[in-house]
């Protein structure tokens, strides 16, 4: 019997529940259904933590084996010779390539994704937005190896024009200087990654923009805002944290993308100052291309590089959460 819903004017005297009874009620575990559900949800939560811990322990253990034998500096060496005795390897080239290709991908994909999402939710007529959203979903369903093949067979041969143009006008900056090698470079990888992460960012962003309360948009409209001003005053601020979350999902995919990068890039173990010159590598691509032939010692070294990728991903996610939390009181959540 629930006391709080008593509505009669003079409620009959009800025995007060004892403190322990109240506690049990508050925890909601007195009924079998509640108990089962509590067990299931708590179990799932614990399972997740166990899996995360297992991965972390595995990575750290195998990585520590490799790093203790490493004769080079694990963080700064530009070399990956795990068959030497003692082995010499370092992740500098991989970290650079992974971060640079992901930055390029984000810089290209996020603005386009936000624009597509705005178009679909606020500009396109309904009979157009449905099919376009469907096509965006289809893009997300294409396997990454297919993107890789398309990148190697179609994108790479068509990059020469863009590379020449960039070299001609922006070659002086250094990062767009082109020696004329095959365009299997970081920029091509970045462009391909941008295409691959576009759908996930677009989809999440679109959902967020769709949930902007009508009343916030009408508030701007009633003040005499144009459509773009409504977007700027209501939609973008409200969707800000959602756009950041969406970008992080995309970034996670870009950081860890393996097959597409391995198919397009011509890897070398050095850092190219120019984004247009072929060479460099990423963590995932390096693991994929070396794992098959690696010795036990080589595998441990690759796992060590995987651990670094894991840490980078954690750091990026933490940074994103911090950005979202910093302006929490201004988010739409408490409106």
């Amino acid at each position: 019997m629930d006391i709080s819903t008593q509505t009669t004017d003079a409620p009959p005297p009800t025995p007060q529940p004892t403190v322990t009874e109240q506690k049990r009620n508050a925890r909601g575990a007195t009924r079998p259904g509640d108990r089962v559900f509590l067990g299931l949800s708590r179990g799932s939560g614990i399972l997740l933590l166990v899996i995360m811990a297992a991965i972390a322990v595995f990575l750290t253990y195998r990585a520590s084996l490799a790093i203790s034998k490493d004769h080079g500096n694990f963080l700064t060496t530009f070399e990956w010779n795990t068959n030497l005795n003692p082995p010499v390897f370092g992740i500098a080239v991989l970290a650079f390539g992974t971060v640079v290709s992901s930055i390029i991908a984000m810089a290209l994909a996020v603005p386009v994704a936000v624009a597509i999402a705005l178009f679909l939710t606020h500009y396109a007529p309904r009979r157009l937005s449905g099919p376009v959203a469907y096509v965006v979903d289809l893009l997300a369903a294409v396997p990454s190896i297919v993107y890789g093949l398309w990148g190697a067979l179609v994108l790479v041969p068509h990059m020469n024009g863009l590379f020449g143009w960039l070299d001609h006008y922006f070659g002086w900056t250094g990062i767009f200087d082109w020696q004329g090698g095959a365009p299997r470079s970081m920029l091509t990888v970045g462009i391909l990654l941008a295409i691959m992460i576009l759908p996930i960012i677009t989809n999440v962003t679109r959902e967020v923009f769709r949930q902007v309360p009508r009343m916030h948009e009408e508030a701007a409209l009633a003040l005499g805002a144009t459509r773009w001003e409504v977007v700027r005053m209501s939609v973008l601020p409200f969707g800000r944290s959602g756009v950041i979350s969406a970008s992080m999902l995309g970034l996670g995919r870009a950081l860890g993308e393996t097959m597409a990068v391995a198919t397009v890039l011509s890897p070398t173990f050095d850092i190219q100052a120019s984004l247009l010159d072929p060479g460099g590598g990423t963590f995932a691509q390096n693991i994929a291309s070396k794992f098959g032939e690696a010795t036990e010692q080589g595998r441990d070294a690759l796992i060590a590089s995987g651990l670094v990728l894991f840490v980078i991903t954690l750091l990026v996610n933490g940074a994103a959460r911090a950005i979202i939390a910093r302006r929490k009181e201004y988010s739409g959540a408490n409106a």
Partner: protein, 258 residues
């Protein structure tokens, strides 16, 4: 300066559904006009035709004339955006911009309209908040988010935001229906002060409120569900509540329907 509204033969649709039909009325400047009537009779729809907000709803369209002094709001070549800058609106649920501070909320409309110096902006923000009887409560926390205020304060913030751009007309769509009685009283007092400067039209479900705040009252009704809403009569508030000329009005305000 406040302006007169002159509506003639106005009909509004949602797609193929006719929501209100053939409404004509005049609203005098510097007066409060209340719209009453049962739910679904189209009074909110009609209110939204007065600042061209109706057409924002998908499928919404309007036939007829709305004159603001001599300018036809639905004339060809009239930009709905500029109409809304002249006819302000306050909504049923308080809707301050959640991502903006109290100050920025009030300044939002001004920033849309053009360039103000920082000092000018501060003056107008202060004046508007004073005009909305909110200044004393928020002057120490202008940089805090508007969504941290109570519901009644948020609604007065929305009023401050609306009057900051000096509209000619202020439309209020059930502005107190989400508020407690004390906040409601504060808004009603405010309406009494604002009518010195603006033409005010208010939709309300609360007939005592209509009787308390308005000079004129318009009663809307619909023949049956699915039929378009119509204006039954508009008259001085005193007369509507004491001796209305149409039987349906008397039935409605005395609680006898149909």
């Amino acid at each position: 300066m406040a302006k007169r509204i002159d509506v003639s033969g106005l009909t509004a649709y949602y797609g193929s559904h006719k929501a209100i039909e053939d409404i004509s009325m005049t609203v005098e400047p510097r007066s409060v006009t209340a719209f009453i009537g049962p739910s679904g009779c189209g009074k909110s729809t009609f209110l939204r035709t007065l600042n061209r907000m109706h057409e924002v709803t998908p499928g919404g369209r309007v036939e007829g004339k709305v004159l603001l002094d001599d300018e036809d709001l639905y004339g060809s070549g009239v930009d709905p955006v500029s109409v809304r800058r002249e006819v302000g609106m306050v909504f049923q649920r308080p809707n301050p911009f959640p991502t903006m501070s109290i100050y920025d909320n009030v300044a939002a409309g001004l920033r849309l309209n053009g360039n103000y110096k920082k000092s000018e902006l501060s003056d107008i923000v202060e004046k508007s908040l004073k005009g909305a009887n909110l200044w004393n409560e928020v002057k120490d926390r202008l940089n805090k988010p508007g969504s941290g205020l109570s519901g009644g304060q948020q609604q007065r913030l929305c009023i401050a935001r609306a009057i900051a751009v000096e509209p000619k007309v202020l439309l209020m769509d059930e502005p107190c229906s989400a508020l407690d009685p004390i906040s409601t009283l504060a808004i009603e007092d405010l309406i009494g002060e604002l009518k010195e400067r603006f033409t005010i039209v208010i939709v309300t479900h609360n007939m005592q409120q209509a009787a308390r705040v308005s000079d004129r009252t318009a009663f809307f009704n619909l023949a049956a569900v699915g039929q378009p809403g119509r204006l039954i009569e508009i008259d001085d508030t005193e007369r509507i509540f004491s001796n209305p000329s149409v039987q349906a009005t008397e039935d409605y305000i005395s609680g006898r329907f149909g």
